[in-house]
Symmetry: C2
Subunit: 231 residues, 2 copies
C-alpha cells in the first residue's frame, strides 16, 4: 500500500529563531512540504541570539539548506531593534497596541520576503511560509493579512513564479493558540528565542513587548514556559 | 511675488546609472520634487561601470544624498548579470521578447524597491521614482505596469507610508521617446551607462540586448548617440 502525499511540495520557511517562526517550520513539515529550505536574516539586530536559535532549529528539523542573508539595515536607522535607543519595557497591551512601536524596522518583512522570493525563483519553489501574526503583533503594519495578500499578488506579477503562495498559518491565532498548536507538533520551544533586548548572558530580559507576549502566551496556553528569563 | 510650488515634495529616485534612470532623475527634478535622494545597488553586477555612472550623475544633479546599498545577489546565482554565464549578443527583437532572458536577476526590482521603501519610511518620503519600461523591457516580469501597481499597493499596506506612490514615468514610452524627452531636459547621456557586458576599458560592448536597444533608441529618436561602443 502506498500513501500519496498530495502536498509533497518544496517550501521556504522564514526562520528567525523565534517562537512563531519555529512553529511555522513545524507546521510546514506537518503539512508534508518537502524539501524544506530555511532563511534567516542578519540585519544587525541587537538580539543576535535569534540567529543562533535559527541555526539550531534548522539542524534539529534537518532542513535541506539554511541560508543566512546579511542585510545592512543599520543604514536605515530609526529603530530600537537596530539602533542604540532603549527598547520599551513593561508596557501594557493598550500601550503596545497604541501606535507603530519604535521597535519597528522599516519595511522589514518586505525586504525579507523579497529575498525569499528571489530564492524561491532560483529554487523553483512556490510556497513561502512566514510566521506573522495579526493578533499579538505589536502593531507592525507588515503583519496584517491584507499586507500578506498584497505581497503575494505583487510577487506573482513580478516574477516567473505565477503560482507563488505566501503561507501565513499563524495569521489569525493568538500566541496561546500558536503555543498549543506547536506543542502538539513537538516544537522544542526551549530552543527558540524571542527577546528584543537580551542581557549579555543570552537569557531573555522578561520585560520587552516580545517577552511579555511570550510569557502571557504560555500562561494562557497552560503550557510550562521553558524560557529562561533574567528577572 | 512668491511662487508656490505645489509639487515641492521630496523624492527618492532609483539611479542605476543607465539611460532610463538618468532620464527619470531629470523628470523628477523637472516636476519640482525637492529634495531628491538617489539610491543605487551594488549586487555584484558585472557591469560595474554603472555604479560609477550613477555616482557621477548624482553629483551632476546635486542630489541631497546618494546611497549605494550593497546586496549579495550572487548567493542567488542563476543569472548572466551576476554569474559567469555568457551574456547573449546580437539577438533580434523576436529573440529578446521570446522569453524571460537569462540576464534576468531574480526578483531584482522587488528587492531594490523594498530598500527604497525602507529608506522612504525613514526619510518620510512618499514618492519613489523608478525607470522601468514596459515596451523596450527585454521581457522582465518586474517591469510591467501591473507589477508596479501591485508593489505600490503592498507598500501602502506594509508600512506607515499610506500615501506611498511609485512613479514610473517611462512606463509606456519607447526608448526613442525616452531619449527625446531626456534630451529636451538636458540629460547628459554621455555620462550614462547601459551595457550588460562592457569590455575592460569601460566602453560599451555594442552587442548585448541593452546596447542594441540603446543604439536603436538613439537612431529612432534622431538624436546623436554619445555612447562609445567597442565595435
Amino acid at each position: 500500500m502506498s500513501v500519496t502525499t498530495a502536498s509533497a511540495r518544496p517550501a521556504i520557511v522564514l526562520l528567525s529563531g523565534g517562537l512563531d517562526s519555529a512553529t511555522c517550520l513545524a507546521i510546514a513539515k506537518g503539512e508534508g512540504q518537502t524539501p524544506i529550505y530555511t532563511m534567516a536574516f542578519d540585519y544587525g539586530q541587537r538580539h543576535r541570539h535569534e540567529l543562533t536559535a535559527s541555526k539550531i532549529l534548522a539542524e534539529r528539523y534537518a532542513v535541506k539548506e539554511h541560508r543566512v542573508v546579511t542585510i545592512d539595515l543599520r543604514v536605515f536607522g530609526g529603530s530600537a531593534l537596530t539602533s542604540d535607543s532603549a527598547v520599551p519595557k513593561d508596557r501594557n497591551e493598550a500601550e503596545m497596541n497604541a501606535a507603530v512601536p519604535i521597535t519597528y524596522v522599516p519595511a522589514r518583512n518586505t525586504i525579507f520576503l523579497s529575498y525569499a522570493l528571489a530564492w524561491a525563483e532560483v529554487l523553483n519553489v512556490d510556497d513561502v511560509y512566514i510566521g506573522v501574526n495579526a493578533l499579538d503583533y505589536s502593531g507592525y503594519p507588515d503583519c496584517r493579512p491584507e499586507y500578506i495578500e498584497a505581497f503575494e499578488k505583487m510577487a506573482r506579477l513580478g516574477t516567473t513564479r505565477t503560482g507563488f503562495t505566501l503561507r501565513a498559518p499563524l495569521q489569525h491565532q493568538t500566541k496561546a493558540q500558536i503555543i498549543r498548536r506547536g506543542t502538539l507538533l513537538g516544537v522544542p520551544y526551549g530552543l527558540t528565542h524571542s527577546c528584543y533586548d537580551p542581557p549579555a548572558n543570552g537569557v531573555a530580559c522578561g520585560h520587552c513587548d516580545s517577552c511579555l507576549l511570550r510569557k502571557k502566551g504560555f500562561a494562557e496556553a497552560g503550557v510550562p514556559d521553558p524560557t529562561q528569563y533574567a528577572t
